[in-house]
Symmetry: C2
Subunit: 346 residues, 2 copies
DNA sequence: TAATTTAATTGAAACGTTTCGATTAAAGAA
DNA sequence: TTCTTTAATCGAAACGTTTCAATTAAATTA
């Protein structure tokens, strides 16, 4: 078992002090060019690389970023947050950070629910994705750790966020449907307490109003506890089991619910998009494989993760960094479930 | 900015030496019960927790596990390896480890392609998922690091692996089709250099032979470079553009290719399962949403990751641990694309 | 030439643990 | 009582860096 190579070995071989070598590996100024070149050469030759834990101890930094998800978000079948996570992983590499992932309960009650990476001071900053209890945000602020929220926000808290342009997304959807002649447009929202869902719902109402289309409460289902496929199924059942006039189009706050809605309609023999047009939001994989293929709004999930990491790294390197709110753009993806062709003119 | 609480604070408050406190936090023997109780109380009261980097430096361990994927596996749309990764994440938490993920090129040529966590001695063991160049395995062995391979193996190398029971999976598929009356059974394999695909292919041939069904080379497509949806599409085109007799069933080496195959058949007006039965392997989400729903073989992806972590942790704690090869079970999931009902008798 | 500034290098402390040989106190054996 | 063993605790070194004040040497100014 060959011994690990340490900075001491490099210093010795170079005939210099350890501190000079350290200055060089961290490429700090005030080192003679020739010395630097020579030491770099030796480092390469010896295959030296500073050990993370020693570095961390001395400089009180870990080189890690904590990524926190609530348990229910993590275990969700649809990999919405997974994609965000992978985006952070990818970007983190560019900044020489690693991501430590963990899940937590909805609120922080007990001290021994705190993720180990926080207790062990093993992260330099934290990213939280999705709706979460404010107590977590408070806790992380107390630890003086830089923090970014993805796809969530807390109005009362001073915290940087990365989100997506929900309002524009729904606006594009509604206007597209209207252009296709639809004026009876329903909405399936699920859990409208989630800020993104709430924004989508608000934008639905605003855009209808702005277009002079009346809002019919019987065509709106926003009471469900969650935003999963089965919630969409139940919501559709509610809307389409009513007597009276039916909507000719339904805007769903996400693709999962749109798929659930389609499932119900298919089972009851309603033609899509013939009888009812369906539109989703998020552009998940499954929307591509369903029949008819789902018209939806694309969200740059990986990119959201990437941006969050960039912001966080700025905050880590410059503790004075300013508060930011970043919105990533979205775009309408017209497929078959809405029955309206992509507009050439406009 | 309140100072971090260190072991020294605990020792002072308890009127004991630092070493005794350390013995307690690592619950080592030879400590008086009363002392232990008292110190634990103080630790709780102070909210003390050992800092990872200090611990790591002193004990020469990181508390991290490295997870390596090749770039192409990582960027693959279908989250096969993502699921495995999440499985490792989940299990790692139970053992107080964190996973550091990275991607690498196919082979290790250049020293500066080595993942940072290896250079920095920042992992206690490594998991590699999927096909990868042998040079990586060699490199990790040189570093004396415990290693587990998931869904891959290298016959010439002494390394523990976690895989799935590919042979049984395909056997179940073929026998199911045969029970449904099929005797003209094709196979789409894609990249048969991948050991799992190769096993599936071999099992296809073996099971046909064992069942007295003849193997028709025109119905077999195994030349493709990869195993993605488009490879399945192309493979189907090859098989069904031939003159002469056609198969009545096609076994696909994974779901992605099965979906590609279905796409081609639908486009050319072939009825599924009426004219041709299709079966996949892997049980990916998308198979549930396609019409008809895909019959497939379920693979416990998260569990494979979990088992790999358990094995690896054993190796980390006990360097003398023996070489293991673990196969996870698979099961046939009968849905609609095969046109054969689940057998009640047998 | 002497005094001052600047650039390069260094020694030593600090970071917070673990670990191991040494020490002390208590218990048991002779 | 004295010697030996065992249990509990401790002191100090070690882990491999970074960082900062101090030193030395060289360059510049007076």
């Amino acid at each position: 078992m060959k011994r690990k190579i340490t900075i001491r070995d490099v210093a010795k071989k170079a005939g210099l002090s350890v501190s000079t070598v350290s200055l060089i590996t961290n490429n700090k100024p005030n080192v003679n060019d020739e010395t630097r070149r020579k030491v770099l050469e030796i480092i390469k030759q010896l295959g030296y690389h500073a050990q993370r834990s020693a570095r961390g101890l001395a400089s009180q930094s870990s080189g890690n970023i904590g990524f926190i998800l609530t348990e229910d978000h993590f275990s969700q079948a649809e990999p919405f947050y997974t994609k965000i996570f992978l985006g952070t992983e990818f970007e983190a590499r560019n900044h020489n950070f690693y991501i430590l992932l963990t899940t937590v309960g909805w609120t922080l009650k007990d001290h021994n629910q705190v993720p180990r990476f926080l207790l062990e001071h093993n992260v330099d900053g934290v990213i939280i994705a999705g709706k979460i209890g404010a107590s977590w945000v408070d806790y992380i602020h107390e630890q003086n750790l830089p923090l970014i929220l993805i796809d969530y926000e807390l109005p009362r808290h001073r915290v940087s966020t990365v989100g997506m342009d929900n309002r524009t997304g729904i606006k594009l959807v509604v206007e597209h449907l209207r252009r296709g002649g639809h004026t009876k447009i329903g909405f399936i929202g699920g859990d409208v307490h989630h800020p993104s869902i709430a924004e989508r719902f608000a934008s639905y109402r605003d855009t209808l109003s702005a277009g002079g289309i009346s809002i019919v409460n019987q065509w709106i289902a926003v009471g469900e506890a969650n935003t999963s496929l089965s919630d969409g199924y139940e919501a559709a059942k509610k809307i389409f089991s009513m007597n009276g006039e039916r909507p000719t189009a339904v805007v769903c706050a996400n693709d999962a619910m749109a798929l659930g809605c389609m499932k119900f309609l298919k089972e009851t023999g309603v033609a899509i998009p013939g009888d009812v047009a369906i539109v989703g939001f998020d552009n998940i994989e499954a929307g591509l494989h369903v029949e008819p293929r789902l018209t939806t709004v694309n969200v740059h999930r990986e990119e959201m993760g990437g941006i969050a990491v960039r912001r966080l790294v700025e905050m880590i390197k410059d503790q004075s960094a300013v508060l930011t709110k970043t919105l990533t753009p979205v775009e309408l993806i017209v497929r078959d479930s809405c029955g309206v062709k992509e507009d050439v003119s406009d």
